[in-house]
Each structure stands twice: as structure tokens, then as C-alpha cells.
Amino acid sequence: MQAAMAALDDAGMTMEDIEAVVYSMAPSEFLGVNEPDRWCVDAVGGRGRPFMRIHTGGATGISAAHAGFYHVASGLFDSVLVVGADKVRECRDSQQVLNTIWDPLFERQFGLTTITMAAFQAVRHMQIYGTREERMALVAVRSRGNALNNPVAHLKGRITVDDVMASPYLCWPIKKYDTCPSSAGGAAVVIVSEEKARKRCTRPAWIKACSEVANTVFLGDQMGGMAQMDFADSDILAMAAEEAYRQAGIRNPRREIQTAELYAPFTICELSMVEALGFCRKGESGRLNEEGFFSMDGGIAVNPSGGTLCANAIAITALARVCDGALQVMGKAPSGMQVRNVRHAVCTGEGGSFQFHAVMILGDDD
């Protein structure tokens, strides 16, 4: 409810102006309430309106925003509210829930979790590109520093590489500070037709591209042997990004994108993702990050909000990426978090066993 009100306020609209509601809700096991979309209808203005839930795991928020866009782009609706909330913090056994992503006959028994999955990506990235733990740690240092400017971040502060290195291993080589927290939160965006946007908003964020690509759940298909892609690289994201850049008419992402809000729940994910997005070559991200290329005043400001490493309320984490990307384009990000002269912001979401990637590109009036 709070998120819905905040988005409507910002748009200068009331619930009366909304024609349909898209509800962003990932696995309900974290919340511990089955079918939470039924439970929350009233709180998000779904009563008496077309209402649908979208669920693509960690990517849910972006997929929900895509669904909102499709509602309007179809011409059937002029104004749609995309909204959701999650309370992962209330789940005492979140890794037990995440373990059930995997096949119950062949894989689940070995304690696979999202953390071990990040470890597998990290050991391959380390093996292939020589990435060091300290370089992963620097991603957490920058993220928590950026989060100081984000009033709604869960984790924030000045930490050092040594702090990250000294944090306990959850599974080698992933340490506690390489890992996102379990958060609670809500998020909402209002998506309206071009005509309405021009009438109501002096500087709207235009949706320039929506793309999504899925892959197999089996991690072992993506390493050695007859693998068509390597688990070290986020090649599925690269495919989604290529399609998004085509839609948005972006030829050189490194020059044409000023900021990115990425769904990277572990430090290694961000290093792999900026490579997949074409911000640098494979294996180069650790060094460029160290040189400050992804900092607030660097070439591309990655996660000015602190990103997923600083708050992960799974159902809306990717929607928060869209919110923060939109604020950047509209020039409405909190001071310190605002990147200068944003023409294009890239927002991403990732779900399942790193197997589903979604991209949304927001741009200015051009």
C-alpha cells in the first residue's frame, strides 16, 4: 500500500486513474502465505480492476514491469500500476526454500543453494579469467558506499576490502559480505500511454526496450564437455541485452549508457553481468571496477542505489531496479545517488538457477 501510494503521488495520480494492476510476487514460501496475490489485492488497489500476478523468480519485478508495458503497448489500457512487496526477512530458512529450485532426484540432496551457485560461478570466473577474491570484495565496498545515498537501502556504510575478506565464508569462495541480505520492502511504478505521459510529466522515463531469455536449470550443462556457454559468463543476459540494445537502437553500450541497476545478489554476479552487458570485455570487469569505471563518477555508474547487495526483498528487487533506473532518467534520484546527464539506464533481473535474465532499458525523450 505504501509503495502504491508513493508511486501514484509521484505521478500526480490517484487510484481512480489506474485501469489495471500487475502484482509483482516471487515465490510465496519466503512470505509463508500461499497465493499472496489473493491476500494483497486490497492493499494494492486490485479490487474491482483487472489484476494479474507475475512470477519469474528473482527477475519477477522486471517481468512485472514488462507485463505492465505490454498492457499499455497493446492499446487496451492507458494507465497501469505495477506493484509488489516481500518480507524475506520473516523467513528463517530462506536457503532451505531456495534449495528446492533444484531437481529432487539428482541435485537437491547436495545442499545446492543460491550461495553454492554463486560459488560455482566464482570458481569458474577465477579459473578462466584469474579473478581474485579481493576484486569481488571491491564490488561490495562500492555498493555499500553507494547505498549511503539511498534512504531505503537495507545495508550501507563504508567498508574495506579487508572487512569483506574477514567476513565468514558461507561457502568457498563466497563470504558473508559478498552476499545480499534478506530484506523486506515494497516497490511500485506507474506505466501510462505516451499521450498521458506527455500530458502529465515534464521529464518521463520512456521504456525503450524489454527482453527476456531463459536457459536450462542444470548448471552442469554449462561447464566443460559439450557446453554451449560457460557458467562463468552470464551469456543468457548477453542474449537478452543484445535484443534490448537492438530495440533501443543502442550500438555502443559503453558509450550510450550512463547508469545500470543490476540484479546482482552476489559480488561475482555483478562482475559477470557487466561483461555480458558489453560494458567491458570478458575477464576485464574486476580490473575496471578497481580503476573506478563503475563508480558514481566513472564511465558507467553501476548500482548507484547500492543494488541487490544492499537490499533484497526478492519479489520486488528487480522492480526496485526499474524504479531506481526511472528516477535516474527523470532526474529524481536522491541527491548523491543521481548520476549526471542520464540518457539511458539499463535495469536487469535474474531468476532461478541464474537461468533466466530480463532487461529493461529506460531512456529520455529522444
Binding site: F110, W172, G225, M226
Partner: protein, 153 residues
């Protein structure tokens, strides 16, 4: 309000997972013959572990099976030193291993590694290291009927 109340609760749901014809064939060979068999795509030749009834790359059903080797190469690994609810007791090492003759890697425990020092254990488990399949004496027709061991621990 500063201190708000919480209420403890939980779900405890049980299932009878269908193993299906493909899984049943795999687990029968594991239990009865101490063999690891894998389906082979008639079109692209991909030998798939864990076994599947179709090739997801070519989108064709599979009925040919082959036996894979009893040794393989580590493709990814980790060591888990902390306890998570309902997950194995730590410390444990797991690895994705490409068995000789297979086209994809399959996860299992690596049991003959000293896990008292995490960094040392990680060095021993490096990508590219060779492992062998070790079968349990009393097999039950589950994935725990075998595990991996480093050839040179």
C-alpha cells in the same frame, strides 16, 4: 511502535516425487549393476547427466543409452562450512564432474578431502582435477549410491 510482535509458524509438506521411466532406468542401473548410464541425443550426440528423456537443444526424444566412465574431471566445486536448515551437515565438499564420455557435468559429494582448512581444501579441489566414482556397498537406488573421490587427495 518500536517493538512489534512476531508469531512463529511453518509449513511441513511431504511429497512422493515420480521418478519416471528415465530416472527409474538410471537408478536401476546404479543400484543393480553399479553402472552410470546416460541418454544420448540421436541428433547432436549429447550424453546427458543427470539423465533426461529428451534433448533440450534439439528438442527430440531420446531412447539410446550409453555407459559412461568411472573417472572424470572437476568443472566446478565448493566447500560449505556452515549449517543451513535441512541441508547437509557441514563441512562438506561438492563438485560438478564431467565423467569420461559424458557431455555434461553432474554434481555429487567429494568425500576424501580434508576440509579442516577451507583454503587448502579449495586448492585440492581445483577445476581440472581428476576424480573417480565410488559406489556404496549397500545401494538403495538413489543418487547417494555413489560419490566422488579425488584420484590424488
Amino acid at each position: 511502535m518500536k517493538e512489534m510482535m512476531t508469531l512463529k509458524g511453518g509449513w511441513n509438506v511431504k511429497y512422493n516425487y515420480a521418478v519416471g521411466p528415465t530416472g527409474t532406468r538410471f537408478f536401476k542401473a546404479l543400484k543393480g549393476e553399479a553402472k552410470i548410464i546416460a541418454p544420448k541425443c540421436p541428433k547432436c550426440g549429447l550424453v546427458m547427466l543427470p539423465p533426461r528423456s529428451f534433448c533440450e537443444r534439439c528438442f527430440v526424444p531420446i531412447d539410446e543409452w550409453v555407459e559412461v566412465g568411472m573417472e572424470g574431471t572437476i568443472q566446478a566445486f565448493t566447500v560449505v562450512p556452515v549449517k543451513f536448515e535441512s541441508l547437509p551437515d557441514p563441512p562438506y565438499a561438492i563438485a560438478y564432474v564431467l565423467l569420461d564420455g559424458a557431455g555434461t557435468a553432474m554434481v555429487n559429494f567429494v568425500k576424501n578431502v580434508d576440509l579442516s582448512d577451507l583454503r587448502k581444501a579449495a586448492k585440492k579441489l581445483a577445476i581440472g582435477k581428476r576424480v573417480r566414482v565410488v559406489f556404496e556397498k549397500k545401494r538403495k537406488g538413489t543418487i547417494h549410491d555413489f560419490h566422488y573421490e579425488l584420484l590424488k587427495p
